[in-house]
């Protein structure tokens, strides 16, 4: 008969395992499914790209106060009604032009501003629900040559991703503790765990 404190650890460990698993469930399913689709782009991603909808508009813009490229892009996004993560930015003062990209899962916008004419050409590409699903997998604000997150929803999503990672650590640790505390530790279970570890190690160091 285990001592009371150990029994308490068992009970709370199981509770934490259940609670964390339930809280992370949707996130886990999304990243598992979207990861599968990223590894098989011909299933949905390439067809979604071929059926993408592209809309190009020319809109008036007002001169923005001189500031950094990111701030200029953000100010223009406000004028143009665009939201998302700023990607690549290029300024050509000699030609009086400014261009940048904006993205969010499933939608990309390319903006080319002609300051002399006070107008911007906005090309918005939408790749549908599958594109959005896959885009959520990689939406950490990286890319475009910068590792900055400049859009609050991206930061919140990264917090959620980090939370899922911590959740996975907790789930694995609590599951191993439950397994060890169960006391059965059959050979099959050791063999399965060993197989997983060896598979992982092989691909890390053995290829």
């Amino acid at each position: 008969m285990p001592p009371p404190w150990l029994r308490s650890v068992e009970v709370w460990n199981q509770r934490v395992h259940i609670w964390v698993g339930l809280a992370c469930l949707w996130f886990l399913w999304l990243f598992a499914l979207s990861g599968l689709l990223l590894n098989h782009p011909r299933w949905t991603l390439l067809p979604a790209w071929e059926q993408r909808r592209v809309e190009t508009r020319t809109l008036p813009v007002q001169q923005v106060e001189p500031q950094g490229d990111l701030q200029t892009a953000r100010a223009l996004m406000g004028q143009l009604g665009l939201t998302g993560e700023v990607g690549s930015v290029s300024a050509d003062p000699a030609a009086d032009r400014f261009a940048f990209g904006v993205s969010r899962p499933g939608t990309f916008a390319e903006v080319s501003v002609d300051w002399a004419r006070r107008q911007a050409e906005v090309k918005v590409t939408r790749i549908g629900a599958w594109g959005a699903l896959v885009g959520l997998h990689t939406a950490n604000g990286g890319g475009g040559g910068r590792h900055l997150r400049d859009w609050l929803p991206t930061t919140l999503w990264v917090v959620a991703m980090d939370g899922l990672c911590v959740g996975l650590f907790v789930l694995v640790a609590s599951s191993l503790l439950m397994w060890l505390q169960a006391g059965r530790l059959r050979r099959l279970e050791w063999a399965v765990l060993g197989a997983g570890v060896l598979c992982c190690a092989f691909f890390l160091w053995g290829t």
Binding site: R15, I18, W19, G21, L22, A23, C24, L25, W26, F27, L28, W29, L30, A32, L33, G35, L36, N39, H40, P41, R42, L46, R104, G106, A132, V134, G135, L136, A139, N140, G142, H147, P153, L156, W157, V158, A160, D162, L164, C165, V166, L168, F169, V172, S175, L176, W179, L188, E189, V192, L193, A195, G196, V197, C199, C200, F203, L204, W205, T207
Partner: protein, 204 residues
């Protein structure tokens, strides 16, 4: 009853076995997600090795597809790994190759048969993140040109199925525990609301 055991018990065993096999992979993907989300933080053992370059003569095969030609050249210069893409500029062919722990670039002058092989060892963090990203969606026409990339893709596909099975069985195992139902429903509800709200804000 299955084999004389109620569903709860054999599902619990299945949940355990699938979880035991999947746990090293789940840890790998969790660690690499943190590394990818926070690239400014130096990963452990991050110092990459110094690149080394050697020149070799190769026999340029003809009558093959671009990727097969590239793989034949790689075989001649003793390079293994996944060809990332093929860069062609006239008679010059650039073949970047990646594998866990090493990046190699082979530049071939197809007219003279001279090849330069530049190898760069990578750190432990990059070794891990390579597996997270592999095989990936880019250059789908040639992706999986290395046997271990195909095997890894198969393994990760199986891992996705295991994760779905583990989570579905986990939900069932929770549902039969009356004492945990209320708290579990609250947490499931909170997780659902947080997930839906974030996705809606990001995608709308």
């Amino acid at each position: 009853m299955l084999g004389g055991r109620p569903p709860y018990l054999w599902l619990r065993d299945l949940h355990l076995l699938c979880g035991l096999f999947a746990s090293p992979f789940l840890l790998l993907f969790a660690i690499t997600t943190l590394l990818l989300n926070h690239p400014s933080a130096p990963p452990p053992n991050a110092a990459p090795g110094q690149p080394s370059a050697v020149e070799r003569s190769v026999t340029v095969p003809t009558g093959l597809s671009d990727i097969d030609q590239a793989r034949q050249i790689l075989r001649q210069v003793g390079v293994t790994g996944e060809v990332q893409y093929l860069g062609r500029d006239g008679d010059r062919l650039e073949i970047p190759v990646a594998r866990p722990g090493e990046r190699t670039t082979v530049r071939v002058d197809l007219a003279t048969g001279r090849a330069t092989v530049e190898r760069r060892p990578t750190g432990f963090g990059e070794r891990l993140t390579y597996l997270h990203r592999a095989p990936g969606p880019h250059v789908a026409d040639i992706r999986g040109n290395w046997i271990y990339t195909r095997l890894w893709r198969w393994l990760v596909d199986a891992l996705v199925c295991l994760v779905l099975l583990i989570s579905a069985s986990g939900v069932y195992l929770w549902s039969v525990l009356r004492a945990e139902r209320r708290t579990g429903l609250v947490l499931l509800g909170l997780g659902t609301v947080a997930f839906a709200a974030l996705v809606w804000v990001l995608v709308r």
